[in-house]
């Protein structure tokens, strides 16, 4: 079963009611009844409930409480005071179920997000568990690991015959494997409780701010009216016979020709090598960035994305090769000077915000750089207005929403008038509504003020919808640098970079169109539609 809904709709609270954190860790007022395996939760205890309901939390780092893989899997057994001899075979057994049995001695720091999640899953797979509860299992995973996670959940559900409840807002990714029922929440109320097919054919998901699967978006754009009988919950199973002609005629009619623009190069990375100690992190990397580009930097964790970002910001300097900023070798700039030309926005705004009041935060960079009073005033006014938070300038930061905090961090970078803004996972962990808010805001910045933007991301939707070019990293090498639709139809690159074929690709292959052209037509048509709206 899938529980779906935007942030703040009550999904997590509902989950906490099931696993017993409500009412035992978060006391409050409860009305009505909640029964798990026949027992009323309020008359049970969190310990009794945790024996029946196993929960995998969203933050795979924080929930890894053991000092080794084996220790973490054994954690619940330790608390049960189980003798060690009994514990060992059980730990091995659980670890084997999730494919982590060769890592028992490993410490958490070297594991990937996906591996940590597997360990968490193994840690709750003990004896009496009847319900497995996953809180946003896809949040921290790259696309391919996400698929593997959903696959694993599906397998375990089948083999152990237990109930699985997944809380997510990434509908398409969860539907990679069959789901029996979807419950849609909004403002703490259930607004839909139906099968995936029913839900996908209704208009509810679009109304409630959930992202529609891409292939359905493509079908609807071509004017196809998909019905339940077509089995639309998976791109491989959907019945396309009726819609084939409609799709082909629509997408061959989209005019994809673009005016050729002359662009000036602002940043050029030339044959750069970089190593940490003896480990090579970047190997002969070259690419260039033009003024007013929107570029996605993609690749799996540890592929060199973050190293490349640190290198561009000047935190790290190349061992070999050159970085040219507006034609000048950037070695002559200090980090501080570079910070005024290339702005770096971190993934988590809480890691950037140091002041209490919004305007103080935005002026901090200018104050630290010793700018004059007038210049500071002028720049922050401009930045705050660009980010649409000028009326809120005297508000304390603690009261604003996540999306607004993100704006504050971006404003504090913009105030320094950088040529380029580098954003690390700007939408990580955000639902579709906040995602759309952040991304359309960045798009406006780019379009209206000609600001060059680089996104470090593994969200392929983001790349498709909002960027023109993708630079792909794998094992420290730059393995692709091309328009998004070309990258997404290149199987080699997708595999090497742990990306995932979008459902558009599968749709195109199924109706016999060239995926590259099809994805391009879709992107063009989709953007035109979005611009008409805004």
């Amino acid at each position: 079963m899938l529980i779906l809904g935007p942030s703040g709709c009550g999904k997590s609270t509902l989950a906490n009611c099931i696993n017993g954190l409500v009412p035992f860790s978060y006391p409050g007022e409860i009305q009505g009844s909640c029964k798990i395996a026949g027992t009323e939760t309020s008359s049970s205890s969190i310990f009794n409930l945790s024996a029946v309901v196993g929960t995998v939390l969203q933050d795979s780092d924080a929930q890894f409480v053991g000092l080794s893989v084996g220790g973490d899997i054994a954690y619940a057994l330790e608390n049960d005071n189980m003798p060690r001899e009994e514990m060992l075979p059980r730990v091995l057994n659980s670890a084997t179920l999730v494919g982590m049995h060769e890592f028992l001695e490993h410490v958490p720091y070297n594991l990937s997000g996906g591996q940590k999640q597997r360990v968490s899953l193994a840690g709750i797979m003990h004896d009496h568990v009847k319900v497995l509860l996953f809180d946003e299992p896809l949040a921290a995973l790259d696309p391919q690991m996400g698929n593997q996670a959903i696959d694993l959940i599906d397998q375990i559900q089948k083999n152990n015959n237990c109930t699985v409840v997944i809380i997510e807002h990434r509908l398409e990714d969860v539907l990679y494997r069959p789901v029996d029922r979807i419950i849609l929440l909004e403002d703490g109320q259930i607004v839909a409780d139906m099968t995936p097919n029913e839900l996908l054919c209704s208009n509810i998901i679009v109304e409630k701010g959930i992202r529609e699967p891409l292939y359905l978006q493509a079908l609807k754009m071509a004017g196809c009216n998909v019905t339940i009988e077509d089995n639309p919950c998976n791109v491989f199973d959907i019945n396309l016979d009726k819609y084939k002609d409609q799709l082909v005629s629509f997408y061959t009619s989209v005019d994809t020709s673009k005016p050729v623009e002359e662009k000036e190069v602002v940043l050029e990375v030339k044959n750069v090598d970089f190593s940490y100690d003896k480990k090579k992190a970047l190997d002969d990397v070259s690419f260039s960035v033009n003024k007013a580009d929107k570029i996605a930097v993609v690749g799996k964790n540890g592929a060199g994305k973050s190293t490349a970002a640190k290198l561009i910001c000047g935190i790290l300097r190349p061992d070999k090769g050159k970085v040219l900023l507006e034609g000048v070798d950037y070695l002559k700039y200090s980090i501080k000077e570079l910070g005024q030309k290339i702005g770096y926005v971190m993934q988590n705004p809480n890691q950037m915000l140091v002041k209490d009041i919004i305007r103080d935060e935005v002026s901090l960079g200018l104050v630290l750089n010793g700018k004059s009073e007038e210049e500071i005033e002028r720049n922050i006014e401009e930045a705050l207005k660009k980010c649409d938070i000028w009326p809120m300038r005297n508000w304390p930061i603690s009261v604003v929403s996540y999306g607004q905090k993100k704006r504050v961090t971006i404003a504090s970078i913009l105030a320094m008038n950088p040529e380029i803004i580098l954003l690390d996972e700007p939408t990580a962990g955000q639902d579709y509504r906040v995602y759309t808010e952040i991304m359309s805001f960045l798009e406006t910045l780019n379009r209206n003020y000609g600001i060059t933007i680089l996104f470090i991301t593994h969200d392929m939707h983001l790349a498709i919808e909002y960027t023109d070019r993708a630079i792909v990293f794998a094992d420290g090498k730059c393995i692709g640098d091309d328009s998004v639709f070309k990258i997404l139809s290149n199987n080699d690159i997708i595999e090497q970079a742990n990306l995932k074929q979008t459902s558009l690709y599968s749709l195109a292959t199924r109706i016999g169109l060239n995926p590259e052209d099809f994805i391009e037509s879709f992107i063009v048509a989709e953007r035109r539609k979005r611009h008409e709206k805004s």
Binding site: L21, A62, V65, P83, R84, V107, Y109, I315, Y344, M346
Partner: protein, 283 residues
């Protein structure tokens, strides 16, 4: 990252590493009593030699422990010198010897008795240091937690220690990230360019977001622990705590004997106070 400087997160291969956490903690507790209870060279010197052998047997990375050793030895020497400056005759009480070996001024003299006393004192300090070092380097945080529980302390105490070690690397990674972003915004952390006090102020700016993000994490950690039944019973077992093996039994006999000796030594000292004079002057 396998190890945090001198602290091991995973069990090592050598003889001492392989002992159980309970053995290590109990042995350490007994030895600390042993080294504190007297100024007798025949008691301190053998332990010093044994711990040096123990240290070598752990096959430590000398590069890592060198700064620690240099720091502690230097501090202890400073301590001894200060002792001497405060009272150049401080050894008289223990040795009854005032023979002057060397005189700087009338006040600052080196007597045979004081020299002897301070040398023994230094050795005693160093022995407690080497004992601690061997203990710290041979134990993992999980074993420490198990060992503390075996001493009868509440297991929640051990768990706090364990959790602290678990999250130190995460927090230091956060710190690094925050410091990078602040440097890009113009915060100067380069020691060569600014005064130490300024630098301290700048570091505090980084601490604010670090604390905020760490608090976010604490909530998640405590939920994760609750959901896996932490605090369910009075007792808790340990995955990383091996059952007693042959070597542990041998060590059990050893630390029991040492403990008995300590009791005898202290009690007999209470009944008939020992001559405070030191060993070499006994004869």
């Amino acid at each position: 990252m396998k190890n945090l400087n001198i602290i091991n997160l995973t069990k090592g291969e050598t003889f001492l590493h392989q002992l159980s956490g309970t053995t290590k903690v109990r042995l350490f507790a007994v030895l600390m009593v042993y080294v504190t209870m007297s100024f007798d060279l025949p008691i301190i010197l053998p332990l010093f030699i044994v711990t040096i052998v123990g240290l070598v047997s752990l096959k430590p990375s000398w590069k890592v422990i060198k700064p620690v050793v240099i720091f502690v030895v230097a501090m202890n020497i400073v301590n001894i010198v200060l002792f001497w400056l405060a009272n150049p005759h401080c050894g008289f009480e223990y040795t009854g010897d005032k023979t002057v070996l060397f005189a700087f001024t009338d006040y600052l003299v080196v007597t045979k008795g004081t020299f002897w006393y301070l040398t023994v004192r230094l050795l005693k300090m160093l022995t407690s240091f080497t004992t601690s070092l061997v203990f710290i380097m041979s134990i993992t945080p999980s074993e420490l937690a198990a060992g503390l529980t075996s001493l009868g302390l509440p297991y929640k105490l051990g768990s706090i220690v364990e959790l602290a070690f678990r999250y130190i690397p995460d927090i230091s990674r956060d710190y690094e990230n925050i410091s990078i972003s602040m440097q890009c915004r113009g915060l100067e952390l380069d020691a060569k360019k600014i005064k130490p006090i300024e630098r301290l102020k700048q570091m505090i700016i980084i601490l604010i977001p670090l604390i905020v993000t760490s608090f976010d994490r604490v909530g998640n950690i405590s939920n994760a622990m609750d959901l896996r039944g932490f605090g369910k019973g009075k007792q808790r077992s340990y995955y990383s705590e091996y059952p007693e093996r042959r070597n542990d039994t041998i060590f059990k006999v050893i630390y029991c004997l040492i403990a008995l000796f300590c009791v005898y030594y202290i009690v007999s000292g209470l009944i008939s106070p020992r001559d405070p004079k030191m060993w070499i002057y006994w004869s």
